[in-house]
Every structure is written in structure tokens, then in C-alpha cells.
């Protein structure tokens, strides 16, 4: 039971310093600090420090902010949660110049929440790099009761909202940052296949 090649499943190519950009906005969550630091190492020396902004939150993961507060990096803005990061990002983007490049590193829901908010302010998705790191597992929304389950790591799970057993599809909504979960035993109630490990 799989759906090979579903085209809505996103990929995460990783962060690559773009020295041709005129402004750099780096946004990270939890373990994403390491990816941001690597990107900063590539930018410093070629890009003017005034053109670099770093936003970070430990989110629900581990706090690696000390990686980013090293003296050689521009002072990061550290927030407690995603919402504060987005507010800070909106402030930066409102004053942003043409040629702004964004680098986003964190969990899948974090990445897509940031991208969605950035796109609402006119950022093109092509100008936003992404690297997935830290907490794995998928966020899945139940198509029946709309409850979102976090960090689902198996092909089948029980919805915490309606208690139906759901199959996790590869169909992904960038708008919500979630995969779709659909009742697995609708055609044969009670016949729930053995869950398998889900590829992240």
C-alpha cells in the first residue's frame, strides 16, 4: 500500500549560501541552528554583515542558540516560539529590498509555516531555500475530522480527534504544511493493516 511518485510531496535540497543575493534572511528552528551556522560561514567575508539577518527559535526541540551567538556571526534574534519568529520575519520582509534570499532550516511544519507567511508578503518560493532537520515524522491532518497529529512515524496511525485508523498519504499541502490522513478500513471496518515505518 503505497503511492509512488506523488508530485505534491516536497523535497528539501538543503541550504547553499547565495553570494549574489543582496540581502540574506536566515530562519531556523531547534537543530536547524547548525545549518544556519554553516550557511553563515559561507556568507561572512563575501556579504556585508548589515545585509544578514538571523532569526531562531528552539521551538519544541532542543535549544542550539549558542551555536548562533558566536562572536563571528551577526547577533541573532532568538524567540520562544514560531509565532514570534514569523512576526520578526514580517518586520524584516516589509523593509526588504529586491534580491532578498531566505534560508529556512527546521522541522517540516516549521519550514512551511515560515514559507507561507513569507509568500503572503510577496516572496517567491524560488527565493526561499529549505533544509529539513531536527524533529522528523510527518504532520498529518485527518481529512474526516480535521485534527492534526504531529510527528507521525508510521504508515497507519489512530487519529487523536475521531479515533479512526488513518493511512498517511504522500499527498502534501504546502499551505498547511501537512500530509493527508484517510480512513484505512472504510471498506472493511476493523481490518487495519499492520503499520509500517513511514519514510520521512
Amino acid at each position: 500500500m503505497s503511492e509512488p511518485g506523488i508530485k505534491s510531496k516536497p523535497n528539501y535540497p538543503g541550504l547553499e549560501p547565495d553570494t549574489s543575493a543582496r540581502q540574506h534572511l536566515l530562519i531556523g528552528e531547534a537543530d536547524g541552528a547548525g545549518s544556519l551556522a554553516r550557511t553563515l560561514d559561507g556568507l561572512i567575508g563575501t556579504a556585508n554583515e548589515d545585509t544578514i539577518t538571523v532569526l531562531y527559535t528552539p521551538g519544541d526541540g532542543s535549544d542550539h542558540s549558542s551555536t548562533l551567538t558566536a562572536a563571528r556571526y551577526p547577533t541573532p534574534t532568538i524567540s520562544a516560539q514560531l509565532e514570534d519568529v514569523i512576526t520578526a520575519m514580517q518586520g524584516v520582509l516589509r523593509d526588504a529590498r529586491m534580491g532578498t534570499r531566505m534560508y529556512v532550516a527546521g522541522s517540516e511544519p516549521f519550514i512551511w509555516a515560515v514559507i507561507r507567511a513569507a509568500r503572503e508578503l510577496g516572496m517567491a518560493e524560488a527565493a526561499i531555500q529549505r533544509e529539513r532537520c531536527g524533529l522528523m515524522g510527518r504532520s498529518v491532518i485527518c481529512v474526516h475530522c480535521k485534527t492534526t497529529a504531529w510527528r507521525v512515524s508510521t504508515t497507519i496511525y489512530q487519529c487523536p480527534g475521531c479515533e479512526l485508523h488513518l493511512f498517511v498519504r504522500d499527498h502534501f499541502s504546502r499551505r498547511w504544511g501537512v500530509y493527508q490522513g484517510v480512513c484505512v478500513d472504510a471498506e472493511a471496518p476493523g481490518e487495519v493493516p499492520e503499520p509500517e515505518e513511514l519514510e520521512p
Partner: protein, 354 residues
């Protein structure tokens, strides 16, 4: 576009149901005008798009938007679905100009094709819309959503058969930025909202690799105002159930396990979507109309040519398509039911009933 001469005035039946007791049925006249989709003895994907510029008198291709004997039933079914789940009609905020475009296109088309049923009177931006089938007469200010009981897109699509989606066009791409979806073939508007053309077609097997979507998108990006196009799509549904949404799959999925050799002629329905696409003039958005028709196998076999062709198509359909279309489980019963109607005779080309 349709015109008065070729569009027959439908005799609209009292309300029938698409759920619970399933009283829906097609009259002999409705059977003969059913948009049977198979022009050959086998089926595979293709970019089967053609101009939507009318068709034989009385056929569903003649008007811009087909109104038939099931009008009242489908309007009532839509009302029920929306009462349970208002999110089935959702339009993103930036699509308001496309909402008004849709309202104008539907009101103009319906009042032109069915002047006995729909009347549009315009006095500057003061419009009066009369829908005699539903007993509606509303005067509103075109461009001012506060003068209508619903937003313009929802207001008008509550009065028309079939689903509708609205697509913004940006950067050579179409986006799913709104829709009214109460009779969909197992896909979720709420989940797919905001997706681009490739993403929302993500789950469809084979067609990506065949390059079908690339060609279709290229074609649709160049769609011009006043030159709508159409295609047919199909699947199978157990019972005449309009709302085969993923949202309610846990309720209707079980139907697929209830098909038996004895009831298959009554239970199994061919579900055909007459899809038409319009470029909207102000917003440059694309309106996608998905008009759904249902016919039971018992009704279908009253047309001998269709019985034979349906038998051949279903028998030879590749496994992955039967699986995707959701009837792989009861396909053998459909084939066995149809087999006695097929003498193997060569059929005339095309889908017409003869």
C-alpha cells in the same frame, strides 16, 4: 456557447435523493442524453480537450452550463452538504474579482440558454436575478458583496448543478484558489486549496509520466476569454451518491463492499464529469466547471451500444487505473454483469447511442 435554438427546455423533476434511500433515477430521456464517455473499446488517458462551443440539440454539450431534470435534487443535495460542512465552499481572499466574473458568466449563460427559467435584468450596476425554478428574485449591486446573502461565488453556484473551482494564474502556473465542491470524486478542496496544477494532480497515477499534465497546463494557460473548452472524465460510484468526498469516505467507503452479483446492476453507477473551462475577463482567472452525471448499469444497458462498449472498456482497463478509480474490488462483477449484453459485434465509432 449554447444558444436558444439548440438547448431544450428540461422538464425538472421533484426532489430525489443522493443519500440514505437513494431515490435518484434517470428518465428514458435522461438516459439517451447521458454523456457516455467511451468513443473506443478501450480507455487510456489523453489530453482530450475540445472547444466547448455547443453540440447536438438537447445534448448536455449544447448549453454553456447544462440544467437537466435533476436540477432541484442537486441543488437540495448541495444545500445539505454545505449545512454539514460549510468549508466545502471556500474562496481565497484575493479571488473576489473572479467571484464576480463567475457570477456574471453563470447568470448571463443561464438566462441566455434557459430564458423560461432564469432572467437577468441589468440597470447599470443594479442587477436583478430571477431564478424561477427556485423561486428566487434578488436585486443587488454588482461589485458589492454586502448586497447578496452569500459571497457572489457561493450565491450563484448554490443555484447551478455541478462543482466549480477557481484558478488564479501567476508565473505561468494555475493555482487552486477557491471552489464549491459538494459532488466531487474523492478529492478535498480544503486540503488542495492553494496548490499548483501539478500538486493537486499529484495523486493521479501514470498521467504525470505520460506528460499529460504538462501538455494540459500549457493548453490551459493560453485559454482565451469567450473560447471555453471541455473534456469528459469518468469513474464508478456505488449508489447514486453525489457526495463521494474524502471527508465522508469513512461513511461511504463501505458501500464498495456491499456490491454483489445480484445487486450490481442497481448499485454500480458510471459517474461522468463534463468538465468545462472558462477564462474569466476581469480577473484573468480560470473557472473550472465539473458537471457530474450518474447512470446505473441497469439504465446504461438499455442502450445496446453502450452496454457492449462499457463491457470492453471495463474488462481491459489497467489495474492501476481501476484501483485509482476505486472499483477494483467489484470490477469482476461489473464485467460479468455486462458480458451477456456484448455479442462481440463491431461498434460504430463515437459515443452516440445510435
Amino acid at each position: 456557447m449554447g444558444n436558444e435554438a439548440s438547448v431544450a427546455v428540461p422538464e425538472v423533476k421533484p426532489v430525489e435523493t443522493f443519500r440514505d434511500d437513494f431515490t435518484f433515477a434517470n428518465s428514458p430521456k435522461a438516459i439517451r442524453r447521458f454523456p457516455f464517455p467511451f468513443t473506443e473499446d478501450s480507455y487510456m488517458y489523453s489530453v482530450n480537450i475540445e472547444p466547448h462551443n455547443g453540440g447536438p440539440a438537447g445534448s448536455p454539450y449544447a448549453p454553456a452550463f447544462d440544467i437537466d431534470e435533476h436540477y432541484l435534487s442537486e441543488v437540495e443535495e448541495r444545500r445539505k452538504v454545505l449545512a454539514e460542512d460549510p468549508s466545502r465552499c471556500t474562496v481565497l481572499e484575493h479571488m473576489m474579482p473572479a467571484q464576480w466574473d463567475t457570477l456574471e458568466l453563470l447568470m448571463e449563460s443561464l438566462s441566455t440558454d434557459y430564458p423560461d427559467y432564469f432572467v437577468l435584468t441589468r440597470d447599470g450596476d443594479q442587477w436583478t436575478w430571477e431564478n424561477r425554478l427556485l423561486g428566487i428574485k434578488d436585486t443587488f449591486t454588482f461589485g458589492d458583496p454586502d448586497t447578496l446573502p452569500y459571497e457572489p461565488f457561493e450565491y450563484i453556484t448554490r443555484q447551478v448543478q455541478g462543482d466549480f473551482t477557481l484558478h488564479d494564474q501567476r508565473d505561468n502556473m494555475l493555482y487552486m484558489d477557491g471552489g464549491m465542491l459538494t459532488c466531487q470524486a474523492d478529492w478535498s478542496l480544503q486540503f488542495d486549496l492553494g496548490m499548483n496544477f501539478y500538486e493537486w494532480h499529484g495523486p493521479v497515477p501514470r498521467a504525470h509520466e505520460m506528460g499529460v499534465f504538462e501538455r494540459a497546463l500549457k493548453y490551459l494557460l493560453n485559454l482565451r476569454v469567450g473560447e471555453p473548452v471541455r473534456r469528459l472524465n469518468w469513474t464508478m460510484t456505488v449508489h447514486p451518491r453525489m457526495d463521494t468526498s474524502p471527508e465522508n469516505y469513512h461513511k461511504w467507503g463501505i458501500d464498495r463492499a456491499t456490491v454483489t452479483p445480484e445487486n450490481v446492476g442497481d448499485y454500480a453507477h458510471l459517474r461522468v464529469e463534463l468538465q468545462s473551462l472558462y477564462r474569466l475577463p476581469r480577473s484573468n482567472a480560470v473557472l473550472f466547471s465539473i458537471r457530474c452525471y450518474l447512470i446505473s448499469l441497469n439504465e446504461l444497458v438499455t442502450i445496446p451500444k453502450w452496454a457492449k462498449r462499457m463491457h470492453r472498456v471495463i474488462k481491459t482497463l489497467p489495474e492501476d487505473l481501476a484501483d485509482y478509480k476505486g472499483f477494483i474490488g467489484y470490477r469482476p462483477m461489473v464485467v460479468d454483469y455486462l458480458a451477456p449484453f456484448d455479442d462481440g459485434a463491431e461498434l460504430t465509432p463515437g459515443a452516440a447511442p445510435e
